[in-house]
Symmetry: C2
Subunit: 247 residues, 2 copies
């Protein structure tokens, strides 16, 4: 008896989709364990009575999802399960606040052109005494401060930066409108509140803060360097992940 991909004949799903699930079923049931060699494309094509192109599309999709490994000239194999890389998305603070039904507002503390600290200069790969635009903003949720944003921006990237009203548009949104970042990195730390932060966030010195430091690239140049300081008691990051690997 030839195996059938049609476990649910009335299923209107595309054929390649059903082939994917047919293969996934074999893997998840354990019938095809890690490292097991799958039937070749022509073989599956004959077995299921489906065109090779359709089989190919299904397997290509599974390979993209790292469920199987394909080696030209050799064969196709069930991939080893890999740890789901737990992931946290750093959301836009304004959206995050609004999504919780709270009111987002901003208070601009400083907006100027200045020579930044060496940490920032080095982090952005700028000459020691090169000036950058800088904005210091407090983000409030229902009038309670939840984030202190300390941001430096490459003047040549955003020449009109100093003319913006950052109580109305977030620096993130403004810079995004010039050009969306192509890349970014970030560092998350727990740090005791520094004295400078306290008056803006209405917290005590030493109180645990969640600090996110982030750089954004547009092409090859670093366009912005920023630090987000959140009172630990009023802000946290969360996320949910479907397994990236197998199963």
């Amino acid at each position: 008896m030839s195996p059938s991909v049609d476990q649910f004949p009335q299923d209107p799903a595309p054929l390649y989709d059903r082939v994917e699930r047919y293969i996934l079923g074999k893997i998840q049931s354990g019938e095809w364990g890690t490292g097991h060699r799958l039937p070749s494309e022509p073989e599956l094509s004959r077995m299921l009575g489906i065109s090779r192109m359709t089989i190919n599309r299904a397997m290509r999709e599974l390979a993209r999802r790292n469920m199987i490994d394909r080696i030209p000239g050799v064969g196709t194999f069930v991939a080893a399960a890999k740890p789901a890389s737990a992931v946290v998305e750093i959301q836009n603070i304004a959206d995050h606040i609004r999504s919780r039904g709270e009111v987002h507002s901003m208070r601009v503390i400083d907006l100027c052109s200045m020579v930044p600290s060496q940490e920032v200069s080095v982090g952005m790969g700028r000459p020691r005494k090169a000036k950058l635009y800088r904005v210091l903003i407090v983000h409030l949720a229902n009038n309670v401060p939840v984030q202190l944003e300390d941001r430096y921006v490459l003047p040549s990237f955003a020449p009109s930066f100093l003319a913006q009203d950052f109580s109305k548009i977030t620096p993130t949104a403004y810079l995004f409108s010039i050009a969306p970042p192509t890349e970014s990195d970030h560092l998350i730390e727990a740090i005791g509140a520094k004295k400078v932060w306290c008056r803006h966030l209405a917290i005590e010195v030493g109180e645990p803060c969640l600090v996110v430091t982030r750089r954004t690239w547009v092409g090859d140049t670093i366009t912005s360097y920023m630090t987000f300081v959140h009172p630990g008691s009023r802000y946290s990051l969360s996320g949910r992940t479907r397994s990236g690997g197998q199963q």
Copy 2:
């Protein structure tokens, strides 16, 4: 003059790949701005002298990457640039330590069956007084404590949990060997050190700690609930993101 996809005739890249880059070029150069309607598949097929199936594969790939929006019966449009969702991966602590060239070791403080706190019971959706397996471990990097792992495990998922030697295999690795999690969620907070943590991590009460709370699923059941406590001064999370959206 008909446009050519062959800007680099000696380029050995597959045709669909060159078609993708041809389209991306139009978008990134601004010639086709956000919302611009792309030529239809048959149209591009004629324009470039390439089979419709190949055009389709290229466009399907671009749609998967959210570079274009496709509406059956209507057309294909340049997608709006979306904020790259900055993302942080929560790495396996042992790998993380080793990748920095340090020596990872563990000290088991507790391994037992117990009724957990209500927070854990509720978090795992268990009856109020149901027992769970629990392990409390300190992870050390070069003999310096960097993580306190407080983990609860569903007994029916890992019946032999209490018989393991968790100074040799991490709970994460052991549970993974039973069945890789299919899903997980997580919460990252900055919290002042509680008294219980201090002796294990060699820190002072109130010192800022980076706390990650995580649950893992296998199928529909929550198999494990864990809290990772890191001294803020000795541990941080980092990551890098290529833009998820456009350009």
